[in-house]
């Protein structure tokens, strides 16, 4: 038994990982621990937003569509969290799957729910493809280094759940 345990210890020592091993540093890959793939999309207001310009900020990236019930259900919570944390440096981006939705629907949805964070349009479906979105909603929590800390598939996410994850991101701000 002792021999086995000593062998185990030797194996542990032999297989230590180098710093930076694991997911982060490799990528960009739309998965936890990896660098968030870059996106450059136009908002309803006509501005262009790129994820790569947001290094140094905490980012909540939400993928949604107006016809998706859990997406609708969680929007008030996302708006509330946006209002609570904007001053502390949180950036909320909501990517509308415009290829399967419409600009008009996104606009009226935003008006109906009083959404004040950027609504990004994805008419070519590039963002959904790059981020391998299989079901809506999907939410990514990206830290100031651009690393995806958590990916939540499905919803609706509760306000409490959003707050806990946003707080974790904001803790990393310099």
């Amino acid at each position: 038994m002792l021999f086995l345990l000593l062998l185990g210890l030797a194996w542990i020592v032999l297989n230590r990982a180098e710093a930076g091993a694991g997911g982060s540093g490799l990528g960009p890959v739309p998965a936890r621990g990896f660098l968030a793939p870059d996106l450059s999309l136009v908002t309803l207001g006509g501005e262009t937003v790129s994820i790569s310009n947001l290094h140094g900020r905490a980012v909540l990236l939400n993928f949604w569509a107006s016809w998706c019930p859990p997406c609708r259900a969680e929007m008030p919570a996302i708006q509330a969290v946006h209002e609570e944390y904007a001053e502390r440096g949180l950036v909320v981006l909501a990517v509308n799957a415009t290829a399967q939705d419409s600009r008009a629907a996104a606009e009226s949805f935003a008006a109906e729910y009083g959404l004040t964070f950027p609504i990004l349009l994805d008419p070519a479906g590039d963002a959904n493809r790059i981020y391998r979105i299989g079901s809506l909603p999907t939410t990514f929590f990206i830290d100031p280094d651009g690393i995806i800390r958590e990916m939540v598939i499905g919803g609706p996410m509760s306000a409490a759940s959003l707050r806990v994850r946003v707080e974790a991101l904001l803790e990393e701000l310099p």
């Binding site: 038994m1 086995l4 345990l5 185990g8 210890l9 194996w11 542990i12 020592v13 032999l14 297989n15 230590r16 990982a17 180098e18 710093a19 091993a21 694991g22 997911g23 490799l26 990528g27 960009p28 890959v29 998965a31 621990g33 990896f34 919570a77 509330a80 299989g134 079901s135 939540v152 598939i153 499905g154 609706p156 996410m157 509760s158 306000a159 409490a160 759940s161 707050r163 806990v164 994850r165 707080e167």
Partner: protein, 254 residues
């Protein structure tokens, strides 16, 4: 690899489905051997249902206790159907506690009961590996070996496949011992020892290990401790058995 099953507008996470299947199949297998270890199947299912209920509730309570501020302006979230508001470790601890209390109340023998659950654990471990494979979690370190698979941007060890194969091997090793008479607890402890050994060995090929200072992989260290404790207990219990001395009485031993 196949993270979602789409049925029209419904998208089911395959990983969750596999875990559920593993639990059901595992309990079905355990049920067939449970009576031999003094655990009636009805009791077994009652115990599992209790632990699941307490575990879920406990996970919610534990999460809320750790993040009270998050609920302050949304108190209704305390009862929200949001799996993101669960603390798995708190839930597990409370579930185990509930199991112990229930076992004591119903006069279940501690070690034989653990033995009775071992087939379920062994089967579940296989499905855990499958769930990791479909979701791409527990992924491997980059490699140039010919059997590397493309995942998350580079060729990696198919660590989930290793995990599944190890779980199948352990199930095969223990299968014939499910019904064999043995020192109480030895089936369970063998399962723990084999699984810990597998984790210890396969941990070297993971690409997502939590690292301690110096690059030591946390999962390997925890596996080593589990291996040491389970082997130690195995030796102690079988030598006590050989000497004819009953193992030290614990409040749950009968």
């Amino acid at each position: 690899m196949f993270p979602l099953l789409q049925f029209g507008p419904l998208a089911i996470r395959t990983s969750g489905l596999l875990l559920l299947a593993g639990a059901f199949l595992g309990l079905h297998v355990a049920e067939r051997h449970a009576a031999r270890r003094g655990l009636h199947p009805d009791r077994m299912y009652a115990l599992v249902i209790l632990m699941f209920a307490v575990g879920t509730l406990g996970a919610r309570l534990s999460f809320a206790a750790q993040h009270p501020d998050a609920f302050r302006s949304s108190p209704l979230n305390l009862v929200a159907l949001d799996p993101g508001l669960l603390d798995p470790f708190g839930g597990l601890a409370l579930a185990l506690l509930a199991g112990l209390v229930y076992g004591q109340k119903k006069g279940l023998a501690f070690w034989p009961t653990l033995d009775a659950f071992t087939p379920a654990l062994a089967v579940f471990a296989v499905f855990l590996g499958l769930s990791h494979w479909v979701s791409g979690s527990a992924f491997g370190a980059p490699t140039s070996l010919p059997w590397g698979v493309e995942l998350w941007g580079t060729k990696r060890h198919p660590s989930q496949i290793y995990e599944i194969l190890a779980a199948l091997a352990i199930l095969a090793i223990l299968w014939l011992r499910f019904d064999r008479k043995s020192v109480a607890g030895s089936l369970f402890l063998q399962f723990i020892a084999w699984s810990a050994g597998a984790d210890l060995f396969l941990g070297a090929f993971r690409g997502d290990s939590s690292l301690l200072p110096g690059g030591f992989r946390l999962d390997q260290i925890l596996a080593w401790v589990a291996l040491a404790v389970s082997l130690g207990l195995l030796e102690r219990r079988s030598s006590l058995h050989r000497e004819g001395t009953p193992a030290p009485p614990s409040s749950l031993d009968s």
